[in-house]
């Protein structure tokens, strides 16, 4: 019989983790509420907070004494991170407020990559053990259990910050403006409030809060270069469950997640892998705007400079034909490796194109498109491994498996909108990911499955090159055609005005659902072709980075054009492949290039080219 007091202690443990989660998530939610930026760099802020605190304590604790030095270092580190966030806003985000709001996500992703390499370059790659908090290094006895004093500090920190934010938002003019902007940004602008200054302030506050969370983590965990990746997904989950932009909601969500984790591990120790995403999926299905959130203001989707899709002109058709001819002839002049590389571009082109089908035409942003790519890859691999399928039927199994998954997930997804829709796709992708990760007997767990090679007739690189070109090309052509079919027009109509669609009797949800399934099916085909070119599959195919890659390809190439994702896929994949061998800092370089491209081509590569060409034509 377990001591009942144990449950009290476990509840306190849950409170301490909840505080930490809340501190990270509240900054994220404030930033999103006002600026609508999905800030991927928030994890980087958190990590920088820990590193700043480490350096500061090492410098000022000897000078000012332990207690004063430590408790001064924490807020100073938080302010430092706030200033870093301001820097990001001034140098980067401010330049692209006028472009598609997802472009800011792309920009912050570039910052993530840069910080990821910057941190080990400055502080070294090994973990850094900071000092423990002076005055809170021991334990107290609660109900007969030893409980670390510092955990009590953390338990207090969450509610204190929550109270402070409440005062700030309800008792100061600036806070009132922030609340107003969260509700209706345009109106605040119309009333003559300088939005740029407001945004800068909000970025400072959000960054400083993340920095504070990281700094307070120092006595618990050594500063290490994985802190950003380890926390960012959970931070988003908490934000979404609470309702984006709602601080109190974030607090509640953090509490729920942390307590479920603390007690969940008693029954099922592996639960932490999937639990936050499971909770997020459940909450979103029941409450489409999170616990305390409100429906997003109808701003369309703010695609600045949007224009409807136009069928290709004569010149573009000729260009496309020439491109196909070049791709057909390419193997004549390429080595094995380059052929493999271009073949992978086909795969990613289809992957990105299918994402753009739901994003561009359907207006549904997906943060979890890897689910369908991975389901395809796993569908093919499982068919080979467990059913002894040959490559040909396995390649058929790939789109079927992914399509089935997309039908199932999509039914829930299309009931949501905006960023909540995106986060639900992420939740489903993570559920698929953790299933592949945990179900070791079936999927091989994180080791994955190996030995999935093409049939003998297709094992030659050039043969497989043509096979990929035909399969991916056909799927792209099919989706392209669908974009101009009545089905595609209906999707686009629903994207631009759900209300009018409704009025003329279109069952929009069903169209979106089928569109989602169609895109998933095509992504699955890409996954199937991919797995036979690699010979193996592991949960990486279903993971967040794979989803982000697809998103980056679409955005780099230019959303709202059909050639954009193809261009983006080629540019991003080749870029990575050619930069990878050059330096250990390849991530930072890729990040830097993304940032530069975002600033230089706010319409994406295809959008830029189109403008240039259109400019020439009008001359």
């Amino acid at each position: 019989m377990i001591d009942p007091a144990f449950y009290v202690i476990q509840f306190l443990n849950g409170l301490a983790s909840a505080s930490n989660l809340f501190l990270i998530a509240c900054g994220l939610t404030i930033i999103f509420g006002v600026t609508r930026i999905v800030n991927f760099a928030h994890g980087s802020f958190y990590m920088l907070g820990a590193y700043f605190a480490f350096t500061l304590t090492a410098t000022i604790m000897p000078a000012l004494g332990d207690a004063l030095g430590f408790w001064l270092a924490i807020p100073v580190a938080a302010v430092g991170v706030g200033l870093f966030a301001v820097l990001m806003e001034l140098l980067l985000l401010r330049r692209i407020y006028r472009s598609h709001e997802l472009f800011q996500l792309l920009a912050t992703f570039g910052v993530v990559l840069i910080v990821q390499d910057l941190v080990p370059a400055i502080w070294g790659p090994e973990e850094l053990f900071g000092p423990r908090a002076p005055g809170f290094t021991s334990f107290v006895v609660i109900l007969g259990f030893r409980f670390p004093e510092y955990q009590l500090v953390l338990i207090a920190a969450g509610p204190l910050v929550l109270g402070g934010l409440w005062l700030l938002f309800n008792r100061t003019r600036w806070g009132t403006l922030v609340r107003a902007a969260t509700q209706d940004r345009e109106m605040v602008g119309a009333l003559g409030v300088n939005q740029s200054v407001l945004f800068t302030g909000v970025l400072f506050l959000g960054g400083a809060l993340a920095g504070l969370a990281g700094a307070l983590q120092m006595p618990v965990e050594p500063a290490n270069p994985f802190m950003d990746i380890n926390i960012i997904a959970e931070a988003f989950v908490v934000t979404v469950i609470g309702g984006m932009g709602n601080v109190l909601g974030a607090f509640l969500a953090a509490l729920i997640i942390a307590q479920l984790q603390a007690f969940g591990i008693l029954v099922f120790p592996e639960i932490t892998l999937v639990l936050p995403f499971l909770v997020m999926a459940l909450v979103l299905v029941v409450r489409p705007w999170g616990l305390l959130g409100t429906p997003e203001p109808m701003t369309g989707h703010g695609f600045a400079g949007d224009r409807p899709l136009k069928p290709l002109g004569r010149r573009a058709q000729l260009g496309l034909a020439a491109l196909v001819a070049v791709l057909l002839l390419l193997p004549l002049g390429l080595g094995d490796y380059t052929e493999k590389l271009v073949l992978e571009v086909f795969v990613f082109a289809l992957f990105a194109f299918s994402l753009n089908f739901i994003m561009g035409a359907g207006g549904m942003v997906s943060f979890g498109h890897a689910a369908y790519f991975g389901l395809g890859a796993y569908g093919a691999a499982l068919a080979v491994k467990h059913l002894d399928f040959a490559m040909e039927p396995a390649l058929l199994a790939a789109p079927l498996a992914a399509g089935a998954g997309a039908l199932l997930f999509g039914w829930f997804v299309v009931r949501l909108s905006g960023v909540y829709l995106a986060m639900l796709t992420l939740a489903f992708a993570q559920i698929a990911w953790s299933t592949a990760f945990q179900w070791v007997e079936l999927t091989g767990g994180d080791n994955g499955m190996i030995g999935i090679w093409p049939s003998a007739w297709a094992s030659d690189v050039t043969v497989y090159y043509y096979l990929s070109l035909i399969l991916c090309g056909a799927a792209i052509a099919f989706l392209w055609r669908a974009s101009y079919a009545p089905f595609g027009y209906t999707l686009r109509a629903g994207r631009d005005s759900p209300l009018r669609c409704d009025a003329i009797g279109i069952n929009l949800k069903r169209h979106q659902w089928l569109g989602f399934a169609l895109a998933g099916t095509c992504a699955g085909l890409a996954g199937g072709v991919f797995v036979f070119s690699k010979g193996n599959v592991d949960p990486g195919a279903l993971s967040i980075p794979t989803s982000v890659d697809a998103l980056v390809m679409v955005l780099l190439g230019g959303i709202q054009t059909l050639t954009g994702p193809l261009l983006g896929a080629a540019a991003f994949h080749l870029l990575e492949a050619y930069i990878l061998p050059l330096t250990d800092y390849w991530r930072a370089i890729v990040g830097l290039i993304i940032v530069v491209l975002v600033i230089a081509f706010p319409q994406g590569l295809a959008g830029f080219l189109r403008e240039r060409l259109a400019g020439e034509e009008s001359r």
């Binding site: 377990i2 790659p125 053990f129 259990f145 030893r146 380890n230 120790p269 094995d336 994180d446 080791n447």
Partner: protein, 408 residues
């Protein structure tokens, strides 16, 4: 007449060319370096990658300075970042093999990447020597003729620990391991070996926190609730640091309960902990500063002279791999893959910690690990009462290999 002269001269020239050509080609081949491909998750896991790279670069530098391999050819290592994912790694391997034309491959850190590259090696029929991956599968259930491994695998290291801890007196064990293949397989091996070595002992609680995301307070409390009298730990780095801090304050690590901990004695993990190294833990590791054999001292001195830093376990591994490359090429005398594979099976290699061999039955090297107890001295953790556990004594038995490993 003139024409005939031409013909004669031409014939003579041709004959001369024919006579000289083989010689010049041979000479060129003798001077041409042997290209070897290397790949590792350099960006993703820099804390290991840098010392590892230092290790093999030191070895290759020494070898080339001393006249190279195969009677005077230099070794040219073409090194790449594997991108940290299987998809990137297989592409990089492909580039090294088909683009750069390397004779064989070595490297990799993560188990899934090691397996993926190993499978590629099998498909392409090219030799691959895995450096760091720990998964048993690489040489057992998923092993193949072309894939070898340097490090002692999870099973071997767990066995060393279970043996070291079986007299510690604990009967009720708690397991805490990261929730991914390495942790799962360490826990599984621990349970199996514990049942073999101490039938009375039982495992009373198991905790599998997600890698890098341990909720240390809740985890420690959950373990305490089962009232274990011994702990087997497979967490490492940041997770382990959190576990140690919480566990010490909450009385899980009270100095009374024996703790068996994988990898904790490796300088990669031990050095950053400083004075917080958990005293009394029985660990596997590498007490580099205390090994006094002549060849090891020579290695440490050369390493410190070149890099102004102390060697980590990864440095030793990289260095030993460098000399494996040399011994392999010298013994085989060719870069033909099948000959290389046949040669490496059973090949003995001298390393700073003594001779190791690659077992013919499963391609696993017999490199061992050091087992000892942690103590803190001058604000720094160190291993005491340590001994070298020779990998040959801990590797899977022939019967186990035959049962698990696919026939070649």
């Amino acid at each position: 007449m003139l024409r005939r002269t031409f013909v004669i001269a031409g014939t003579a020239l041709l004959a001369a060319a024919a006579a000289f050509q083989p010689a010049t080609v041979k000479q060129a081949a003798a001077q041409e370096p042997v290209k070897v491909g290397e790949l590792f998750s350099y960006a993703r896991i820099a804390a290991f990658a840098d010392p590892y790279r230092n290790g093999w670069q030191l070895a290759i530098g020494e070898i080339n300075e001393a006249g190279g391999v195969m009677g005077g050819r230099q070794i040219e290592v073409i090194s790449r970042d594997d991108g940290g994912t299987t998809a990137d790694a297989v592409r990089v391997a492909e580039e090294l093999v088909t683009g750069e034309g390397v004779s064989f491959l070595f490297g990799t850190f993560f188990s899934n990447i090691g397996l993926a590259v190993g499978d590629y090696a099998k498909q392409k029929k090219i030799l691959f020597i895995a450096a760091e991956p720990l998964t048993d599968a690489l040489t057992m259930a998923q092993g193949n003729r072309y894939t070898f491994r340097m490090r002692p695998n999870t099973y071997m290291q767990t066995k060393m620990l279970v043996e070291a801890g079986k007299n510690a007196g604990a009967k009720r064990w708690a397991i805490v391991a990261p929730n991914y293949e390495y942790g799962q397989s360490a826990a599984e091996n621990f349970k199996k070996l514990l049942a073999e070595m101490d039938p009375e002992a039982e495992v009373v609680v198991e905790q599998y926190p997600a890698l890098g995301k341990i909720d240390a307070g809740a985890t420690v409390q959950a373990m305490l609730a089962a009232n274990p009298d011994g702990v087997f730990n497979a967490t490492f780095a940041g997770d382990q640091a959190k576990l140690v801090r919480e566990g010490t304050l909450r009385g899980l690590f009270d100095g009374e309960r024996p703790v068996l901990s994988l990898l904790t004695g490796e300088p990669e993990y031990l050095a950053p902990m400083g004075a917080e190294a958990p005293e009394g833990w029985i660990v596997t590791g590498y007490p580099w500063e205390q090994i006094e054999s002549e060849q090891h001292t020579r290695f440490v001195e050369a390493y410190q002279a070149k890099y102004d830093d102390f060697p980590r376990l990864a440095s030793l591994l990289g260095y030993a791999l460098g000399y494996t490359v040399k011994t392999l090429l010298d013994t085989a005398g060719t870069t033909d893959t099948e000959t290389l594979v046949d040669t490496l099976k059973g090949l003995k290699v001298e390393t700073p910690i003594g001779p190791i061999a690659f077992r013919a039955i499963d391609n696993q090297s017999t490199m061992g690990a050091y087992v000892g107890t942690l103590a803190v001295e001058d604000g720094q953790g160190k291993m005491v009462d340590w001994y070298y556990a020779d990998g040959a004594d801990y590797a899977h038995s022939e019967a186990e290999v035959e049962a698990a490993r696919p026939a070649e």
